[in-house]
């Protein structure tokens, strides 16, 4: 159980352009985002002594960023072998690292040439080692193919349908249209969604997130330090990481997972809400990991915003729109803003809680839920201003 309620804060955020072809090294993207996060807080590189990142596919080691930007002495540098499941866990880890006395001001980043370099959606080595020998030889290779298998289960059990998935995609696109960072800002109607190409039934093209070149960084400090820095502190009220039994042998594998209608969220909900001293009804804005439309439904159910099986209906009727009861993915999410493996959700949460979200600002936002992960393991945080 996370026991550091409001003791640590996000003091700075930084990001690069999100593009399809950065024309740059991943290291330089990471360094740019980290420098911007440090500068955003009003700190200097000399103040930074810790780095945390994750590197499931394309990335660069934390020490290479520390080297490029000239950190005097990194006392902590950790690269988790993880995917989007870690995008909130690295922020929680930064707080734990400071609490333990291993570092004082810690930058968390994710950097990738996710479109021009290593494409996560592009398939794998054709030699199927390890657990992959039981999936890839059957042409079950990409993450959209993995998650579509989960989505079918929800459709079988609860009758979840394309219109419900489509409302998620259309809603997030509307938000992206107000976000200067977003890669996809063209209008999308429900007809556009329904007519988008079927990639892997039941997923259409617009059920699947973008592939992005870019980087995001988040600076974590002690809360009392944050109050003396340049920006309004965003406090980490609570958080959790985990999943259930049989999380699988890698991030694709869920052969033994008990129930593909429900993901990691139901297993971390108690820890998350107890750590924050809040519940779903206390959340003003939600930034939900949307590598696919369907992953949103499982997380809403798992975290208790609605009952199991009711996630599809929950998202209908404007409830998750910017002016709805639960404004969600206000920057456009991974589906329309960009895919920096979930860390871009944390940046948007910080902007909402600082009142810096411009045309997409949710009035009076005081609390924000961020989540990271779609399948058997993941992480989430409750942030507040």
């Amino acid at each position: 159980m996370y026991s550091l309620r409001d003791k640590y804060a996000i003091s700075g955020v930084g990001w690069t352009d999100y593009s399809k072809d950065s024309g740059r090294t991943v290291r330089s993207l990471a360094s740019e985002a980290c420098l911007k996060a440090i500068g955003d807080a009003g700190l200097s590189v000399k103040d930074i002594d810790g780095f945390v990142s994750f590197n499931f596919n394309d990335s660069v080691p934390a020490i290479s960023v520390a080297t490029e930007i000239g950190v005097p002495a990194a006392r902590y540098a950790n690269d988790f072998l993880s995917g989007g499941n870690a995008a909130n866990m690295i922020v929680l880890t930064a707080a734990a690292v400071i609490e333990a006395g291993l570092a004082e001001n810690v930058v968390c980043y994710r950097a990738m040439n996710g479109r021009s370099g290593f494409r996560l959606g592009g398939g794998r080595d054709l030699s199927a080692y390890g657990i992959t020998q039981f999936t890839a030889p059957f042409g079950w290779i990409t993450y959209p193919q993995a998650m579509a298998m989960w989505c079918r289960r929800h459709m079988i059990e609860y009758g979840t349908n394309a219109e419900q998935l489509g409302e998620i995609a259309v809603t997030f696109r509307k938000n992206a249209m107000l976000n200067e960072r977003a890669m996809q800002r063209e209008p999308m109607s429900m007809d556009d969604y329904m007519n988008s190409r079927m990639i892997v039934d039941p997923f259409r093209m617009y059920d699947i997130c973008l592939e992005t070149d870019g980087a995001c960084a988040v600076l974590v400090t002690r809360a009392e330090r944050a109050r003396d820095l340049a920006q309004k502190p965003v406090y980490i009220s609570g958080g959790a990481y985990g999943g259930g039994p049989d999380q699988g042998e890698d991030l694709f594998d869920a052969i033994r997972w008990p129930d593909h209608s429900h993901n990691y969220a139901k297993y971390i909900a108690d820890d998350l809400w107890k750590s924050a001293g809040m519940g779903p009804s206390d959340i003003d804005v939600a930034e939900i990991y949307d590598c696919f439309t369907y992953s949103v439904i499982m997380q809403l159910e798992g975290l208790g915003f609605c009952k199991e099986g009711e996630g599809g209906e929950f998202v209908r009727g404007g409830r998750i729109a910017r002016d709805g009861a639960l404004p969600m993915n206000t920057a456009g999410g991974l589906l329309s803003e960009g895919y920096i493996h979930g860390l871009n959700h944390v940046i948007e949460a910080v902007h909402q809680l600082r009142g810096q979200a411009g045309a997409r600002q949710v009035a009076g936002a005081e609390t924000c839920l961020t989540t990271a992960g779609a399948m058997t393991c993941g992480s989430a945080m409750v942030l507040r201003n």
Binding site: S127, Q133, F134, F138, M149, R153, R197, D201, I255
Partner: protein
């Protein structure tokens, strides 16, 4: 021409499974201590942690737990001729799930819980894949 699709790379735990497939048999592990059946193969039983295991022959009968229809080929050059194809999680009667393809029917024929049975398809001299087809004539 060499086989263009992903091929399993056998390891000490999985070799008995793939060698049995070549002989037209579908093998699963069963814990010799607690009787827990398991797939995919591992050295230790996840229920009791015993390393003692027996290989049991599956009847090769199961039902469709979930399925997808791949319509966009990835990698394109490898699967362009195959789409649309069906990948399913098949729940075997022995109580474990196995990923495979459903063949000998169209994607529209597939439904949840549909009974299927294993068929073996050699793809190289060394590798035979266990696929599944509908138990009842479509």
């Amino acid at each position: 021409m060499s086989y263009p699709k992903p091929l399993p790379v056998l390891d000490p735990e999985t070799r008995p499974f793939w060698e049995a497939c070549r002989q037209g048999r579908l093998l699963l592990q069963c814990c010799a201590e607690c009787g827990h059946p398991r797939f995919p193969p591992t050295r230790f039983c996840s229920r009791c942690n015993s390393a003692k295991c027996e290989w049991i022959e599956s009847k090769g009968e199961g039902t469709v737990f979930s399925w997808i229809v791949v319509r966009h080929p990835v990698p394109r050059d490898v699967y362009a001729q195959d789409v649309p194809y069906v990948v399913a999680l098949v729940e075997l009667a022995e109580g474990v799930r196995i990923p495979s393809n459903i063949v000998e029917c169209t994607p529209e024929d597939i439904s949840a819980g549909m009974p299927v049975k294993v068929v073996f398809r050699p793809v190289t001299a060394d590798i035979t894949l266990p696929l599944f087809e509908p138990t009842k004539a479509i």
